[in-house]
């Protein structure tokens, strides 16, 4: 494809779902109602760790207006000794997460659910459920959970032959680590600590479920995958997948947090029992207590380099908090941490630690920002020790085509070096800084995913186009798909409607996650559109009485070519569509693929901060992200991913954390006290998109959604060090912590 002549790819077109979203018409999960609908509410554990001795629901069931009650015995049980994998999840853990089974494992863990004619009656009924708990000692922080005498969450977990809260490990190895460190002139080793962070989507989890008397089930919910909703609900309720139609509502943010379900199986069983459609909507407090977040972590990173700045060995140990049930993203932390660099000797280990807080869910490049935070801070210190510019140190060691990464791959053509060089050449890197201002840099990597996707491209009778795909659109993917379809078909993008199909109307499509949606959808849409173009040419050929291969498709029209050039007037898409019935019937094509070749994403960031040394407040005053985006199909939404990721990272770096009280309960489950960045906290954010097309993709697309978060916390930490001469190894670098770190000596040195 000649990019100079592109009409739509690379253009920031108006999104197909835009008008509905700016007028309030777009229907999110909580916006749908049904006749006869009743309301479900969840009773949640008040304890962080407790054995459930008994549950008596009789008083709740007797309350006027109550139509059904659900407890763990209504959910399909998956015994703990047999894995039941579904993607990266395991239904053994999912069945215990949606409803506490043997034990309540965190404050907020569902114990029972009630459906009643009003939300108020359902809430009242929850209070009437009598639960006899045996409260157990708990462990929330990683250091508490891995102590030798720590309370054990699960009897079935053993580590090194003993009951443990370490549920899993992972190791990546390359070369000879001891020999590597022996060659180092400088070695830096540091310990790091990051806090669990909620994904912070503004839309609370919600669903509406209708189970008909014949078992046919319809689910409206907001998720990052309607097929995930269908599969998990099927597993947990025993209904066959063919009986469940999961309809994706517009999703009000997910960031990984909506790649698993919480309410859908409860509402399904409540609907089945009551014979009524059931709606459930979480409060923000429920979201904060019982959904997400990403892991907190404890890490140690050690890196050695020679005097000339060549990194010869790197070692990382990453303990990640899984929450109540196994499954923290140790693969992302241990796998991505060193991935931007060509290092001959690497050992990177991950430990999955269960503890008494809500089970983690994916969050934007799960685990990778944790690994990058530690590694990129150590690199900054290494650069200082070697007296080398921090970007030069990275450039000297950057992975490139042919580099063997510790986590496995040998890289194809990648654009990491270009991000670093662009950062170094950018005016931002040379801009003057004032008193108590500082600049930090960091790089990052994310795997990116391929996987299953389906698309259907249909030509309407009036010669326009409807594209259906199977991925919820979290950030503008429909707009990019419209650009691609319009480009291939040679028509105005406004003639292309892009819809997200439900599980009954489009083929299986894996989650919106792993930065995979546009990469994978573009592949199936491209192949579908190519088949449609083939049909259009054949129809024109039939009308003209010539061979199909004598027809070319150009600018939205069929044109006779070769010996037939000029023999017939060109035919537009509309003209061919109008004759479709006579020439063979409807025109359309669908393609289903397991896509491969996503290839990783790389990014380098520059952050400037100003530290208020009296209050300990750190303000980000300038931020520029440089990212290899492959090909920006819709540049404005690619920029949006980059900018949004930066701000999430700034929140993680500076403010966001859960605070627990003495009873092991989250003490700040609200947006007032869980402090996400607001508009007045932020400067404008520059996004420099570097386009090194992915050679394995028809349009050169590389996933862009997750790597924007990966380098951020280290870039901020390094900038704070540059501003005040003090290194902080523990997040968040919130005002009290910064103030405590700024002693007289540090401040005098900084001035």
């Amino acid at each position: 494809m000649n990019e100079m002549t592109n009409s739509w790819i690379g253009k920031s077109t108006i999104r197909p779902d835009g008008a509905d979203k700016v007028t309030g018409r777009a229907a999110y999960a909580a916006d749908t109602n049904m006749p006869g609908m009743i309301w479900g509410k969840v009773l949640r554990s008040p304890h962080p760790h407790a054995r459930i001795i008994s549950i008596d629901t009789s008083k709740a069931e007797a309350l006027a207006g109550v139509k059904a009650v659900v407890t763990a015995k209504d959910i399909v049980d998956f015994p703990v000794d047999t894995p039941v994998p579904l993607g990266i999840q395991d239904m053994r853990w999912m069945c215990r997460n949606v409803m506490a089974r043997e034990k309540a494992l965190f404050h907020g863990h569902p114990i029972a659910a009630v459906a009643a004619t009003t939300e108020a009656i359902a809430a009242e009924a929850c209070k009437l459920i009598e639960v006899d708990y045996e409260v157990l000692p708990w462990a929330i922080e990683i250091e508490d959970a891995i102590k030798p005498d720590a309370p054990i969450l699960h009897d079935f977990i053993q580590f090194e032959g003993k009951p443990s809260n370490i549920a899993g490990t992972l190791e990546h190895k390359l070369g000879d680590i001891d020999a590597g460190f022996a060659k180092a002139d400088v070695v830096i080793e540091r310990d790091f600590n990051t806090r669990p962070i909620h994904q912070g989507y503004i839309e609370n989890h919600a669903c509406l479920v209708s189970v008909a008397s014949d078992g046919r089930t319809t689910i409206w919910s907001s998720s990052q995958g309607q097929f995930m909703v269908r599969a998990m609900t099927s597993f947990l309720t025993g209904l066959p997948q063919s009986d469940i139609r999961a309809i994706p509502a517009e999703i009000g943010g997910g960031f990984g947090g909506k790649t698993i379900i919480y309410l859908e199986p409860l509402a399904t069983i409540l609907s089945k029992k009551s014979g009524r459609p059931v709606k459930m909507v979480m409060t923000r407090e429920e979201v904060m207590r019982a959904t997400g977040p990403t892991s907190g972590s404890m890490s140690t990173v050690r890196i050695g380099a020679t005097k000339d700045g060549k990194i010869v060995a790197a070692q990382g140990v990453f303990y990640l908090q899984a929450g109540a049930l196994p499954g923290s993203p140790i693969r992302g932390a241990a796998g991505c941490a060193f991935a931007p660099y060509d290092i001959p000797n690497v050992v990177s280990r991950g430990f999955d630690v269960v503890s008494n807080r809500s089970k983690v869910a994916a969050y934007r490049a799960p685990g990778a920002p944790i690994g990058a935070h530690a590694v990129e801070c150590v690199l900054d210190e290494l650069a200082e020790a070697l007296n080398i510019d921090p970007l030069d140190l990275r450039i000297r060691n950057a992975a490139r085509e042919g580099t063997k990464a510790a986590h496995g791959p040998v890289y194809p053509r990648i654009g990491l070096l270009e991000t670093m060089e662009a950062a170094k050449a950018h005016p931002h890197y040379k801009a003057p800084l004032g008193k108590f201002q500082g600049r930090g840099v960091a790089s990052g990597y994310w795997f990116n995913a391929g996987g299953e996707s389906s698309a259907q491209v249909n030509i309407t009778e009036d010669g326009n186009v409807v594209v259906t795909t199977g991925h919820p659109d979290v950030g503008g993917s429909r707009a990019a798909i419209a650009n691609i379809a319009a480009e291939l078909l040679g028509i105005d993008y406004r003639r292309v409607s892009v819809l997200i199909g439900d599980t009954a109307t489009i083929g299986y499509s894996n989650l919106t996650g792993g930065s995979r949606v546009l990469f994978a959808s573009a592949m199936v849409v491209t192949q579908s559109a190519e088949q449609v173009i083939g049909q259009l040419k054949a129809r024109a050929a039939k009308l003209w009485g010539i061979e199909a291969d004598a027809v070319v498709w150009e600018n939205g029209e069929a044109r006779p070519s070769g010996d037939h050039t000029g023999n017939f007037p060109t035919m537009t898409l509309a003209e061919i569509a109008a004759k479709a019935t006579a020439t063979g019937g409807p025109i359309g094509a669908g393609v289903q693929l397991n896509t491969t070749g996503a290839e990783g994403g790389f990014s380098t960031h520059i952050c400037d901060v100003e530290v208020d040394v009296d209050l300990g407040i750190v303000r980000v005053i300038r931020y520029t992200s440089f990212q290899d985006v492959g090909r920006a199909i819709h540049p404005a939404y690619v920029e949006g991913q980059i900018q949004g990721g930066a701000v999430q990272g700034i929140g993680w770096a500076l403010n966001e954390e859960y605070i627990y009280n003495a009873k092991g309960q989250v003490d700040n489950p609200s947006f007032l006290d869980y402090r996400m960045p607001v508009c007045s906290d932020m400067p404008m954010l520059d996004a420099v998109m570097i386009e090194i097309p992915n050679p394995k993709h028809p349009q050169g697309v590389r996933g862009v959604g997750e790597v924007p978060l990966v380098p951020v916390m280290a870039a901020v930490a390094n900038a704070i060090h540059d501003a005040v001469g003090k290194r902080f190894f523990s997040l968040p670098m919130s005002p009290p912590k910064v103030l405590e770190g700024l002693d007289e000596g540090t401040l005098q040195a900084a001035e």
Binding site: R15, V22, A30, I202, I251, A636, V678, C679
Partner: protein, 160 residues
Amino acid sequence: MAKLHVSTTVNGEPSEFLCEASDTMLDVLRGPLGLTGSKEGCATGDCGACSVTLDGRLVCACLMLAVEADGAEIETIEGMSQGEKLHPLQQKFLELAALQCGICTPGMLVAAKSLLEQNMNPTETEVRYWLAGNLCRCTGYDKIVHAVLDTAAEMREAAR
């Protein structure tokens, strides 16, 4: 206790509803009135996704009792466009990609419109502080602030 009867004006149209004394304006907008453009992100006044105006003043519908609407004029996102014609802010949000998931967008637009009604020429800082009560987790606010500033400039030009 019998429900309370409220007569109000919503988006310029006379409107009546029955509510409990404890119902919030957001409960009534999203429930009996069927205006689900106002979103509940927190129900504690921290996210701004339910921003509406009450007699021209920007409020969170989740912090307002429904009975307070009696005799008052409420404006919601559903009243922002004139038929098919989008308000300049709505159009600019689309053109500049100032929304991703879109859940904060109704509240953000209502709040931004309220700003421009009071201050046709806001600085970037004024826009940022005015919108500080409207959380967005997707965009990092950059494109939203640009959209508001650009719209203000265009509206000033159009008013000359």
